[in-house]
């Protein structure tokens, strides 16, 4: 059986892993290669590295990080943050990334998804969506969660799939850094509407949250950061719990 994936996420600023809450209060916590290796050894199924520098110097440091990760890490990894063009895709994939995630730039110019999928294949194009609840729906936010586009998150995800995205990563901003569980309702709506894998992100605080999002929302993968950085729960313990509930995992 295809296993459900547990995906630690590492935010990178100037070559270091940092962690904030609701996109604020950012703290320096670790070396990306060391932490990535540790997660991989502890049973992570995949890693995500987001570059939150967005300056020219920061980008070249990030490419060095991607190369170092590719040499050391033996599981797939996705990179993202400030990806705006096919040149960015090219540089990141050449540095050794398996997948590249796009966010704000794809909202601005949706054709970027189609162009990247045509050149590099859908399997390496991840559409990352920052979504925040707005009444009965969710709005797409851009620019690191600072700007409400007014776009409906579900409609945007469907458009992303139609354009050739291979995966959707949905980051529920109301949940980010709050450790009160994943956005089950939003994720369930997405897995019903989409035919590509959905990664739930934002809100994981305990092992049971992973059980809930896999059983109630049928997502393919669950992404988290602080729960792993601060060693609140070990990845293997989450997987053992999932297995005991009959959810297929790689142990």
């Amino acid at each position: 059986m295809l296993a459900k994936r547990i995906v630690p996420c590492l935010d990178i600023r100037n070559g270091r892993v940092v962690k904030g809450q609701q996109f604020k209060n950012i703290k320096d916590v670790a070396d990306p290669v060391e932490l990535g290796k540790r997660y991989s050894d502890e049973g992570a199924d995949e890693l995500v590295f987001y570059d939150i520098t967005a300056s020219y110097e920061g980008r070249s440091i990030f490419l060095d990080v991607v190369r170092a990760v590719a040499e050391t890490i033996t599981i797939p990894f996705t990179v993202g943050g400030g990806v705006g063009s096919l040149e960015d895709f090219d540089a990141l994939l050449k540095a050794g990334a398996d997948k590249v995630s796009v966010n704000s730039a794809a909202v601005q110019r949706p054709a970027l998804i189609r162009e990247a999928a045509e050149v590099y294949g859908s399997q390496c194009v991840v559409l990352s969506i920052d979504a925040k609840r707005y009444g009965d729906s969710w709005h797409v936010y851009v620019k690191g969660g600072r700007e409400d586009t007014g776009l409906d998150a579900i409609a945007w995800a469907k458009q992303g799939e139609a354009l050739g995205a291979g995966e959707i990563c949905i980051n529920a901003m109301d949940q980010d850094g709050e450790t009160e569980g994943f956005a089950i309702e939003l994720c369930r709506r997405l897995t019903k509407e989409l035919h590509i894998p959905v990664i739930a992100s934002g809100g994981a605080g305990k092992a049971e949250d992973f059980v809930d999002v896999f059983t109630q929302a049928q997502v393919d993968a669950a992404l988290a950061a602080s729960i792993f950085h601060f060693r609140r729960v070990a990845i293997r313990d989450i997987k053992r719990l999932l297995k005991s509930k009959g959810i297929p995992v790689r142990l």
Binding site: L2, A3, R5, D45, T74, I75, P197
Partner: protein, 202 residues
């Protein structure tokens, strides 16, 4: 031990090289016929679609060199799309004649919940083989593909994965030939052990 990785400009092969280095080989990315003739192991990588990949491989002029190796039963290892190219024909975007080193067709996956078949799935071995030595009891490997070898349970299929009750060929073999549909270079400790075991298949 030298491993020649066939350089035909398809996809990023740096990761295959890193993994072979970790497994104790000396990988060299090359389009030189002489290198490919003499290396004890040759790896045919590949990411992307069959038609442009076959065209790129033919443009290198290396197809006859690979054919010579196969006839001499010298180990050739196809990874992902490289595995698919070992077969007669691929039906990805039309009908693409491939290398024909193994009999069979590559067709779009059917009766599966989501395409691509992406993520970690468990290999089930149908027979004993040096490749299977020292693997853990649940050998999970990382797949990313939309097309697969058919029929899925012919004699060349050494190991398959179960994707919602559909067998998906994972490892295929022939004389001097090994193909892996998944990415051993991305498959953690299991992928590492499979690459280490290649030297037992010479």
């Amino acid at each position: 031990m030298k491993v020649a990785i066939v350089d035909y400009g398809v996809g990023n092969v740096a990761n295959v090289g890193y993994a072979l280095t970790r497994a104790g080989y000396e990988p060299v990315l090359t389009k030189e016929a002489a290198e490919i003739k003499k290396a004890p192991i040759v790896v045919l990588p590949g990411v992307g679609a069959a038609a442009p990949a076959m065209a790129a491989l033919e443009a290198t002029g290396l197809v006859p060199v690979l054919r010579e190796r196969v006839e001499a039963k010298k180990l050739l290892v196809g990874i992902c799309l490289g595995m698919q190219l070992l077969y007669d024909i691929s039906f990805e975007d039309g009908a693409v004649p491939c290398l024909g080193f193994l009999p069979g067709r590559i067709e779009k996956l059917t009766n599966v919940p989501k395409i691509p078949h992406m993520g970690w799935n468990e290999l089930v071995f149908r027979d004993e083989h040096p490749l299977a030595e020292n693997l853990p009891s649940s050998p999970y490997v990382y797949f990313v593909h939309s097309y697969g070898k058919t029929p899925p349970l012919s004699d060349d299929v050494l190991a398959y994965a179960d994707y919602n009750s559909q067998p998906i060929p994972g490892i295929v073999t022939g004389e001097g030939l090994i193909g892996m549909q998944f990415h051993p270079e991305k498959s953690g400790a299991v992928g590492h052990q499979l690459l280490v075991n290649l030297r037992q298949c010479l």
